[in-house]
Subunit: 155 residues, 3 copies
């Protein structure tokens, strides 16, 4: 088992089965040594797990859990992109985080931390990434969070 | 006529005259073999064609048409970036799709499919891309859809 | 003093002290010769300076000032990424601009121009970039604007 796969297991986490895109696109593309991962929703066992909006029915802790689920789906696709060996990842370059929320909710950074902290736990210094975290009035399938990602692979 | 130009013609489509940016930026930049295309609106003959919001006055079919118009404007700029030869395109790497909508509309993926499917029709397997599709409360000039893109050129 | 640093000074501008991320991420990452800068808020002297929404309490001129402040924070981090020598920058590749606004405000491009025009003033032709400018219902810490960026470094 690779170093990163071991790390994921040691955190008590299991990568989900890569989700099937809900529309006419693919989960990831590779350009040079960059992997672009499609926006991921908080899916578990093939189902959207956390729907609703921050500032209304979803609290920050639940939003963070949604972000973590997005991150696990990102990692599942990244794992496929790496041919099953996450040790090929050089760096998490960027996360783009969208938080479905009411117009008066302004703690998007804390919510997206649920994904950012997981990247750092798993990849260490190489998990540190650039990021945006913004609000939005609504996301696909009423998901609480959607996160896209860019990773660099070792050359 | 190049293969891709032929494909576009065979679909009964014509690339629009590249739109002029509505502000202080340029339609595309090139970094290495990546082309970054600015967010495109559903413009036809120099006019915003489809305005309004999904969930209100715009239905999904019309939203898909808006996304397709955004995609055609993306391709017009990409064509310029390629010096008029779209056969130089290696891959559609990413689309970033924003859908103007009411807070209860959650079918953004179906809307952005209007652009994604066009990419696949034109470029085949090389048209398959990573993507995000999110909602937003409003877009420039009240456009229904805005889409940015990243492409890879053949090296 | 480098050419670009001179240009910034000649415009009467001073780069802020690089802001500390408000969450679990880093201000920038580097992949090859690309620098990805995290979404920046209109921070001055460590404080969010311009909060609120376009279409409500914030007018376009103030929104443009917010965008300019975001751009200055982007440049401060870019300067760090360049080891203090902005002459190493080859090109501003992309800005991604989010404008907090009411659902009837559709002049996001004019707002983000506050950042785009600064890039052109400072970097000249190399400051011209691809861009998206979209609305959003709310941003972190109630900021009026958030902007992310990608730059290319000279190789």
């Amino acid at each position: 088992m690779s170093t990163i796969a071991n790390k994921i297991a040691s955190l008590g986490l299991t990568l989900p089965v890569p989700s099937v895109p809900v529309a006419a696109y693919v989960p990831y593309t590779i350009a040079g040594n960059l992997v672009f991962i499609s926006g991921q929703l908080p899916i578990e066992n093939g189902q959207i797990k956390i729907t609703g909006k921050l500032g209304a029915e979803i609290d920050i802790a639940t939003g963070q859990q949604a972000a973590k689920l997005c991150a696990l789906n990102i990692l599942a696709h990244l794992n496929t992109a790496c041919g099953g060996d996450l040790d090929k990842v050089a760096r998490c370059i960027k996360l783009g985080g969208f938080v479905a929320c009411t117009p008066d909710f302004s703690d998007q950074p804390q919510v997206i931390n649920g994904a950012s902290e997981l990247m750092q736990q798993i990849f260490g210094a190489e998990g540190q990434h650039a990021r945006f975290a913004v609000g939005t009035n609504v996301l696909p399938r009423n998901a609480a969070v959607e996160i896209e990602a860019v990773f660099a692979l070792k050359s």
